[in-house]
């Protein structure tokens, strides 16, 4: 009887602890996550531009490793950084919003550098506003500086 009570109490504690950690788990950094797809920035833009619905089904919410040339690093007023990848002569880009935990030296990433980043695909803005089309990746981390 005593063992039964101890067993039930232990099981309840384990279940409660598991539930607590499940409910309170934080959004993880993508550093250790495997990419669902690896693709070049230009090919990625081509796919999305040719069929947005199909591309959303394939890529939305997935972790994408994207390779391409750096068009620039944008910093907003709050200090949030975005790596802009793609064809330097085109207005369209893959925009990688950088995870706030990522630390790097901006001076080692001049325009034109071949870079590789990993981020979660949040979707595509077609060129409806005359600003170029964009694919946006969130929580992006830098994989390597290829130069």
């Amino acid at each position: 009887m005593k063992y039964k009570i101890i067993l039930i109490a232990t099981a309840l504690i384990v279940i409660a602890a598991g539930a607590y950690f499940y409910v309170n788990r934080k959004t993880q950094s993508l550093t250790e996550s495997n990419a669902d797809y690896k693709i070049s920035a230009i090919k990625f833009l081509e796919e999305y531009s040719s069929d947005q619905v199909l591309s959303d089904k394939k890529y939305l919410g997935k972790i994408i490793q994207v390779d391409g040339n750096l068009k620039g690093i944008e910093k907003d007023e709050k200090g949030f950084l975005t790596f802009v990848l793609g064809d330097l002569t085109s207005m369209s880009s893959v925009r990688c919003s950088i995870d706030t935990t990522v630390v790097f030296d901006e001076s080692t990433y001049p325009v034109g550098t071949a870079v590789s980043l990993k981020g979660e695909c949040t979707g595509f803005n077609a060129d409806d506003l005359g600003l170029g089309a964009d694919i946006v990746l969130n929580r992006s981390v830098i994989i390597q500086n290829k130069n």
């Binding site: 934080k26 959004t27 939305l60 919410g61 944008e74 975005t82 925009r95 506003l129």
Partner: protein, 186 residues
């Protein structure tokens, strides 16, 4: 020949003026907050990749928001937001198309904070509703920024919160918009 040159210059100047009338950002911020007094945690998310275009001449304003871009601190809250409430895969984008109804009151060449009223239509979760809200356009040494705070009733957009957590998620979410704009064409 002179005529052609004059026409070319006039066209170029005309085009330059038009470009300078428009401002934009692709790094705007929108915060979503549906916290109640009984919420165990903040029910809040931030999207840092909002696209916004403002035409200073007409007051036309447009926002494009990728729903999957809303980030939560808590993973479970994030999953519920995207999968159950906003259904972000089915409705990947929210759009606002509207107009500042008093655009002539803003002097884009003079520093200051200008109160504005914006009227338009917000499409979210596949439903479009009229929205009217107050906001602020700030001019600071050529830098233009816009800010606004308004509420949306989740029910208006067909967003259903399960009864089990209905007292922990506000029926009316607070939306905070914050965008620093740059001249289109620069």
């Amino acid at each position: 020949m002179k005529k052609i040159l004059l026409v070319a210059i006039a066209l170029f100047l005309g085009a330059s003026t038009n470009a300078q009338d428009k401002y934009f950002t692709k790094n705007g911020t929108i915060t979503f907050d549906a916290t109640t007094s009984t919420s165990p945690e903040k029910v809040a998310a931030v999207n840092k990749s909002v696209t916004c275009v403002l035409d200073s001449k007409t007051g036309n304003t447009q926002f494009s928001v990728l729903m999957k871009g809303f980030e939560f601190e808590q993973a479970l809250m994030r999953e519920h937001f995207h999968e159950n409430y906003l259904e972000s895969e089915k409705f990947p984008k929210a759009l606002f198309k509207g107009q500042i109804i008093n655009p002539s009151q803003i002097n884009y060449s003079k520093n200051g904070n200008y109160d504005v009223t914006v009227k338009g239509q917000l499409t979210m979760h596949g439903l479009t509703k009229d929205v009217e809200t107050n906001g602020k356009v700030s001019v600071n040494n050529g830098k233009i920024s816009i800010a606004s705070k308004f509420s949306v009733l989740l029910n208006d957009y067909g967003i259903e919160v399960p009864r089990l957590v209905s007292d922990k998620v506000a029926k009316s979410a607070s939306i905070k918009v914050d965008c620093s704009l740059q001249v289109l064409g620069n």
